[in-house]
Amino acid sequence: MPFTDIAVAVQISFTYFTIIYLTGLGGLFSERSGIVNIGLEGLMIVGTVSGAFGARFFTDTLELGQPWGPLLGLLLGALFGALFAGVHAVATVTFRIDHIVSGVVINLVAVGLARFLSYAFFDGQSTQSDPGGPHLDRLDIPGLSSLPGGIGRAFSGLSPVVLIAALMVVPAWYALNRLRWGLRLRSCGENPEAARSLGVSVPRYRYQGVMLSGALAGMSGAFLASEVIGNWREGQTLGLGFISLAALILSNWNPVRLMFFAWLFGFAVAIPLRLNDAPVISALPPQFIRMIPYVVTIVAIAGFVGRVRPPAAAGRAYEGGGGS
């Protein structure tokens, strides 16, 4: 049935939605506090190796079983991501160096760091024949998963993390718009001097924003390694960190809009994995399909440039203290 293929593609897209959304959401908090973070890829990488380890460690070694084992594994990935992001935070907030440079360093070091951790945690990267590590039990969405015509496949066999990620939009939106914390965070990204003049500690909120981005990107990586692929392997992040950046920009740094773009790009990633035989798509070489998210972002940025409005002070070093 033709629908089955599409349905499976959709199911896969939910998975990649999760990855892109979590990472993108992390980037959102960082940028809205005023710190540009292009090191999302590197943060994810750190999350992958620690998450893969965590899943095994908590589930098998500590014998915590389902669901605590894998969940703690995800949290371990978040923790490592947050710690590593701390480097970016110190560099950009305390020492006020260029955000891009710091982000590049994060990406460069992450590869080596992950390799190093892989030796510390297990014995380096897995081979093809390794069995997958533990992961959360899959679930089917009631109702939707029994849709006829193969459509139901799209909603079955999903990791619960997909739902968690989707639901995150609620606390994210609420925190940004209805909590004092969110108001202050956003002020740091729009006009840090004004915030400072009112007693808001800009460095503190920026640290929080950056570490949060590390935690979310790390969790996303952990999800990728333990839930999706099952093993840790080098290079498995595949530029998803940069795709998340693209989704974030297109969404205008809005957590609700981000859901849409994260899913859209998740679908774009899923296409070459599943829909290669579909009519239009089979005519294109698979490599060109993988270009789609990037091309879409460029077109959007170039075409709708007036509409994309980042936090006004993002990227600008905040000089701290003093008047003017």
Binding site: R178, L179, R180, W181, L183, R184, R186, S187, E190, N191, E193, A194, A195, S197, L198, G199, V200, A312, G322, G323, S324
Partner: protein, 510 residues
């Protein structure tokens, strides 16, 4: 007509005492043992030239800078003010020249930022409070409006509300009327009077002597970091205040050379663009200075930029000795003989990070005199040029190899002037040419401009300072909301010109 006679302030114990406050910056002694007293229920004006130390002193009071010496006492008790938070805690608030507002936030969000009253925001409650406060003192503001869309005057009200929301009793306003229209200034003064009646203290930093005489109860004059006098409006006059500020009788008028005015150098017709220019028509002739007077924000910047080619226009024509300018690039326009003294000398005049010689050649680096055809710079020649300019215009500097950022404002302006005049422009556009300069520098710049007139150039002078307009212009036009609203001779009474600046047509003047 002064207002402060006997009203408030007299007899009440000092609310704030600044005792022998000293503050140093690299190379500058900004405050030299300054002592000042503020009382409840008064408007206290702090006047002085740029660099006199007025803002600095208040920033020390507000906790932005730590004092290097002296003590502050609030309500009789010594106070350590290490940050604005401390100051606000003591009831002291400050509204700066450049507002500290978050544009995409609403008025309410801006007011409560930092003082939200709990981890969860209750915007409704806060908006009510803001509205109440505004009503109490006669401010017209919509708590739910987004700041980005407010006018400058409204933004200032938000800033004041921020302070009042936090219960400040002493409100410092730093050059508040610099950005307001005369109507908004009237509103502001009304608000200030209400605040005074309520027992608040206002510190009014300004260099606009007319306004100071109108609203203040007491006036303290600073000069070069020290207090030179304290007085009341009833006991002084504009001339006396000016003399105290500067230390010598100020020449408000220089001798204008008599020059035979020639053909029109510049003809502007129906210039319109981007909403800020709404049909400007004017003419400048050789050997003539046309003064364009107006409150900032009425299209001055846009006019200047349009004339030099930095701005796109929707309609109209600009003719330089007959040659059309609209649509040409900045380089072409300059080559046709236009010089430009921008109002923003950092944003459009100098590259602060580059050396003096690099700045001196800006715009002329293509000349065969300064670079070869292949693009190699002839640095020695450029430095010779710079040395000559620096000497001619008395730019105080160690060498031509230092960065432009090390020059003072006055010297920076001199450098720009030297550079622009070097090309012998037929038309010189001078926008707010003496803003931020001290009297010595102002005199220098005015003299230079008059010399250019004597040399037969056409000069378009755009200025918000009527003194300057009167001192230099042969003809005066007023600019209001992007249109020319009146033409006057320099013999016209300032009130008439002022009316033009407010949009009143010549016919309305009695």
């Amino acid at each position: 007509m002064s207002e402060g006679d006997g009203a408030g302030g007299k007899g009440s114990p000092p609310l704030v005492e600044l005792e022998k406050i000293t503050k140093r910056f690299p190379g500058v002694l900004a405050n030299d043992e300054v002592s000042l007293e503020l009382r409840a229920g008064e408007v206290h004006a702090l006047i002085g030239e740029n660099g006199a130390g007025k803002s600095t002193l208040m920033r020390v009071l507000y906790g932005i800078y730590p004092a290097d010496g002296g003590t502050i006492r609030v309500r009789g008790k010594e106070a350590k003010i290490g940050s604005p938070r401390d100051a606000i805690g003591l009831g002291i608030g400050m509204v700066h020249q450049h507002f500290a507002l978050v544009d995409p936030f609403t008025v309410t969000e801006n007011v409560i930022l930092g003082e939200e009253g709990g981890p969860v925001l209750d915007i409704e409650e806060a908006s009510k409070k803001v509205a109440q406060l505004a009503e109490q003192y006669g401010f017209r503001v919509n708590p739910l409006a987004v700041v980005e869309e407010l006018s400058v005057g409204e933004e200032q009200r938000v800033e004041i509300l921020k302070a009042l929301y936090r219960g400040v009793e002493i409100l410092v306003l730093d050059e508040p009327t610099a950005v307001l229209t005369p109507a908004e200034t009237k509103d502001l003064f009304g608000n200030l009077r209400k605040l005074r009646e309520a027992g608040r203290t206002i510190v009014f930093i300004s260099h606009k002597l007319d306004e100071v005489l109108e609203i203040a109860d007491r006036i303290t004059v600073l000069r070069r970091g020290s207090v030179v006098g304290e007085t009341r409006p009833a006991e002084t006059s504009k001339a006396k205040l000016a003399e105290m500020m500067v230390g010598r009788p100020v020449l408000f008028r220089l001798k204008k050379p008599h020059v035979q005015v020639g053909e029109p150098v510049l003809r502007v017709e129906d210039l319109a663009g981007e909403g800020k220019l709404n049909g400007i028509t004017l003419e400048v002739r050789a050997g003539e200075i046309l003064g364009v007077a107006g409150v900032e924000g009425n299209g001055q910047r846009e006019l200047a930029e349009a004339l030099i080619g930095l701005r796109k226009l929707d309609a109209g024509s600009i003719g330089l000795e007959g040659t059309g300018i609209v649509g040409r690039s900045v380089g072409e326009i300059r080559n046709l003989g236009v010089g430009y003294i921008p109002e923003d000398r950092h944003g459009q005049g100098l590259v602060l990070n580059m050396t003096l010689w690099e700045n001196a050649v800006l715009g002329r680096q293509d000349d065969s005199e300064f670079s070869t055809r292949l693009g190699v710079l002839l640095i020695r020649k450029i430095k010779e040029l710079t040395a000559r300019l620096v000497g001619l215009f008395d730019v105080r500097t160690r060498s031509v190899d230092v960065n432009a950022s090390t020059l003072s404002g006055g010297n920076q302006q001199k450098l720009i002037l030297a550079r622009e005049l070097e090309t012998d422009p037929k038309l010189l556009i001078a926008a707010q040419p003496t803003r931020g300069l001290d009297v010595g520098a102002i005199e220098f710049v005015w003299t230079q401009i008059l010399e250019q007139k004597a040399a037969g150039r056409g000069i378009l002078l755009i200025s918000a300072e009527l003194d300057e307009i009167y001192a230099l212009s042969d003809r005066i036009v007023t600019l209001y909301e992007g249109r020319i609203t009146g033409e006057f001779s320099p013999d016209a009474a300032p009130e008439q010109v002022g009316l033009g600046m407010l949009g009143g047509a010549r016919e309305e003047v009695a």
